[in-house]
Symmetry: C2
Subunit: 333 residues, 2 copies
């Protein structure tokens, strides 16, 4: 009994009837969903485009479709879906999306209530990066750590904070927006309306733009081959892979990204003295080249004591972290 | 009994024997100390120069002198001093000063242990701004608030964080360094070694330099009269008073300081979603001119929801906040 409890947060319920949970990661680009057992084992996963440009109603219809698809899978396995956890890009409070820099038109949208109404399931919604950090603390790179910062670098740059072993939301649920830390007050305009946010320097769009700019100036790179001449196909993941394969131009981009990311994280290290910072997203695939640059930048800029203490590590759970974590949100409530 | 408990955190001890506590604020410029009753009433206060340039040993001798002076005062009142709380500028962990940007030569100095040895009193040491924010939460501008950021602007720019009703230290005690948030990564060199820290823009030294620079360019200001032509006597407090008296040049300096301070605080608002930010130090005396600029800057740069939620207020307890708070640290332990 004790071992069973230890092996899974949902194990007690498991004694009564077998059930599955759905975890959904609603990003600016993709909706990623998992159907998991109470022990956190992924039974089925799927990913569809968010089509965020079509607005909240269209996106919510797609979410309902995803949930219904996974419910059918559960039925095929003779299991019941009990609840849905959803991590969404943006500012979430009590299941409502107040605003989202990467989901155009989302203003005060009752996401959890809507999905609950149309799927007849219990739905818990939170910020997607809160879900991501919860997954990494529960199953991943920060397992067992008490003071953790999670950063995800994709369409936007998100952050999640675990302090003294608990997800820190702030009194209005909006805490954790590390991507919108100003690192240069005269810097480029960010999607959020501010100037010089960390996100305006290290988001997918910026990394790709900086790479294309370098390619136009310096020319030589294996990237052209990798995207077969179509630069619109460039992504941070492809650039990271090219860097790992030794492409000097890609390595330069990754190093610069790491340096700037480190500038933003140095402020967080000085402010919150975390034990560990977990970095996720396509760029984290660059491995050592990125992480050495981030660490050097933090060591150069933050106070020595917290800078030497903090560990900077890549996320372990891959693209399923936020959806897995979304399922963890159900337990958290 | 219940009312007595509510009126003072130290009231229970008060039932056994009358005693006083000493609270000390060790700043880069001044040592400020108070002798207080268990109810927080100040019996005696004193202030001496830190003479930080003479190094840690000399400063600690001055601290012992301050404690002995206050002990004599207590004896005159037929009371006993039970403990000393000390808030010191810098990075403090378990009573040791690891490093202090405003106290030259302080590296791994066992402050609490030394004072305990020479005064035979229980000594608790923490960051001075942690003490300040604790005082403002206990007696001052943030009374009863649970998620509070304290900022002090003096020789350095310090920060203290109360989350979910508790002082947040971080696992190594170094959390709260708001002054060393990078707001412009190509900005001026900060005393901490980083570039473009908030402190490098709004510390006393920078405010005075910016004012003198403006005076040399524009000339007209009542400041010359206020310091009788000796610009080396200029302080943020004098500039703040001139601004309040309508001096346009001083008002411009205060507004610019507020704007830049708001840039740094906007990041903290996005990151931690605080209920209230309490600002202390000479510049806070400028009142509305400063606070309107800070609020405008936060509204312009932070997400709307946490920006509208957060209150930005001046500290209430004046120059005695950190020393009063240092005494609160004793209770906190």
């Amino acid at each position: 009994m004790k071992d069973l409890k230890r092996s899974s947060p949902f194990a007690l319920c498991h004694l009564h009837s077998p059930f599955y949970l759905i975890g959904i990661d609603l990003g600016g680009t993709n909706i990623k969903a998992v159907l998991i057992t109470p022990e956190g084992k992924i039974v089925k996963s799927l990913s569809v485009k968010t089509l965020a440009e079509r607005g909240p109603d269209a996106v919510m219809q797609r979410l309902v479709m995803v949930i219904e698809t996974l419910k059918k899978w559960a039925i095929q396995k003779n299991a019941e879906v009990k609840a849905v956890g959803i991590g969404a890009a943006g500012l979430i409070e009590n299941g409502r999306v107040h605003t989202s820099p990467n989901l155009p038109g989302w203003k005060d949208v009752p996401l959890a209530r809507f999905l609950q109404k149309f799927t007849h399931l219990k739905v818990v919604a939170d910020n997607d990066v809160n879900a991501f950090v919860l997954a990494e603390v529960t199953y991943g790179a920060a397992k067992g750590k008490k003071n953790v910062i999670g950063v995800t670098i994709g369409t936007g740059v998100g952050g999640g904070i675990v302090l003294n072993g608990k997800l820190y939301h702030g009194p209005k649920g909006s805490a954790g927006e590390i991507g919108h830390t100003t690192i240069n007050f005269n810097g480029p305009l960010c999607l959020c309306g501010n100037r010089g946010c960390l996100e305006a320097y290290v988001s997918a769009k910026y990394i790709v733009e900086a790479t294309i700019c370098k390619m136009q100036r310096k020319g030589k790179s294996i990237l052209s081959q990798l995207v077969r001449g179509d630069l619109s196909k460039l992504t941070p993941k492809i650039i990271s892979e090219a860097a790992k394969r030794g492409d000097p131009l890609s390595q330069e981009v990754i190093r610069e990204t790491g340096r700037v990311l480190g500038i933003g994280l140095a402020s967080v290290v000085n402010l919150l003295n975390p034990e560990i910072i977990v970095i996720g997203g396509g760029i984290a695939k660059a491995g050592k080249i990125l992480f050495e640059a981030v660490k050097d930048s933090i060591r150069e800029r933050a106070f020595q004591y917290p800078a030497e203490f903090v560990k900077i590590v890549p996320a372990k759970l891959g693209t399923r972290a936020a959806s897995l974590g979304a399922a963890c949100l159900i337990r958290d409530r």
